[in-house]
Symmetry: C2
Subunit: 169 residues, 2 copies
DNA sequence: CGGTATCCCATTTGATACTG
DNA sequence: CAGTATCAAATGGGATACCG
C-alpha cells in the first residue's frame, strides 16, 4: 500500500498529516501566529525557497487555514491571515511546543506561552473528562464513529477483546 | 537558508517537526497507541515499506518515544512500546484528531475519543489559564524563554511594539 | 519474526532568474 | 511586493530479495 492510500482512509489523524506533515507548513503557521502577513516576510523570516513557500501558502489557503486578502493600507500588497480554522489550532501548537520543550529540548526553554493579560504561564495542555478531571492515556480510548471504515472497526474490536491495555503499554 | 537550519534553531515547534513532520511517524504512533507492538504488525496494518518502517522505528526509539524490548512471552520476538514521552503525546493526538474531524473531515466522524470508564466523549482540548478559564488565540502570547535565540527575541519585541494583535488576525 | 540491502523512480527542495 | 518558471541535485518512498 502506498502512503496516500492510508492517508485517504477515514482516520482524522491520517488526514491531518496533509497539514502538519508537509515540511515548512508548521513553520508557516507559526509565523502567521507571530503576525507575519506578507509573502516576502515569510520568505525572509523562514529562509524558505520562494517556490516552496508559494505552494505551501496556496495549500493553506485551499484548506481554509489562511485567508488571502488584499491589504487595506497598501492596495498592491497581499496579506495572509489566520482563519477560524487555523486559530483553532492554538491548543495544538501550544501543546506541541510544551511537549517539545519537555521531551525534545531537555530543559531548554526557548519559548513560553503566557496569558496575555496576566503574563502567567499557560498550564500544560491536558485531556480532560467532561467534569474537568485530567485523564491519563489509559483512561482514554478511541472508538469508531459512524463514518469509520469497516477495517478500523474490526481492529478496534480485536484490540478490545485482546487486551485491556490498548493505550497504556 | 535550508530547512535544517530553521529546525535546529531554538524553537520547540521547529524541533517537533522531527517527530510529526516525518511522513508515517504519526501513523506509527497511532498504531502504538492502538496496541500494535511488532514490526510485522506495523507493516501489515499501515502498509508501509519495510525499510521505511525500520528507519522510523529506529528514530522513534532514538527519541525515546518507543522502547524496544524483547518480548517476555516469546524470546525471539521484539516489542515496541510506548514510553512516558510518547504517552504524553496523548493530548496532542486527541487534539489533532478533534481538530481534523472538525475542520478537515467536514462532519465525518470516523473516530471518537471517549473516557474508557464512562464511555463519554472527551471534550475539546483547550488552552486554559491557571484558574481553568478557556483562552482564545488573542488571549495567549509567546514570550522568549531564557534559552531563546537573540533573533527570535528581537522578533518578539518588534511584533509586540508593532501591533497588539499578534495572535488574532 | 525482525530486520538489512539494493535498486528504481517520483517528488521535492533550493537557487536563481524573470515578470507584472 | 508577490509571485512564476526553470533546472539541477538530493531526498525519500516502494518493491523486492535476502539473512540470522
Amino acid at each position: 500500500m502506498t502512503q496516500e492510500n492510508v492517508f485517504k482512509c477515514n482516520c482524522p489523524l491520517a488526514r491531518v498529516t496533509e497539514v502538519i506533515g508537509e515540511p515548512w507548513t508548521l513553520m508557516v503557521l507559526r509565523e502567521a501566529f507571530l503576525g507575519t502577513r506578507h509573502f516576502n516576510d515569510f520568505e525572509r523570516e523562514l529562509g524558505i525557497a520562494r517556490n516552496v513557500l508559494s505552494v505551501r501558502l496556496k495549500k493553506l489557503v485551499d484548506l481554509d487555514l489562511l485567508e488571502r486578502v488584499r491589504s487595506e493600507t497598501d492596495r498592491r500588497a497581499v496579506e495572509y491571515r489566520l482563519t477560524d480554522a487555523s486559530r483553532d489550532l492554538l491548543p495544538i501548537l501550544v501543546g506541541l511546543a510544551q511537549w517539545s520543550g519537555k521531551w525534545l529540548c531537555e530543559g531548554h526553554s526557548a519559548t513560553r506561552f503566557v496569558e496575555r493579560a496576566t503574563g502567567r504561564e499557560i498550564p500544560r495542555i491536558a485531556v480532560r473528562a467532561v467534569d474537568g478531571r485530567e485523564l491519563a492515556a489509559r483512561d482514554v480510548t478511541m472508538v469508531p464513529g459512524p463514518d469509520a471504515n469497516p477495517e478500523l472497526v474490526a481492529r478496534f474490536e480485536r484490540a478490545v477483546t485482546a487486551a485491556g491495555d490498548v493505550q497504556g503499554g
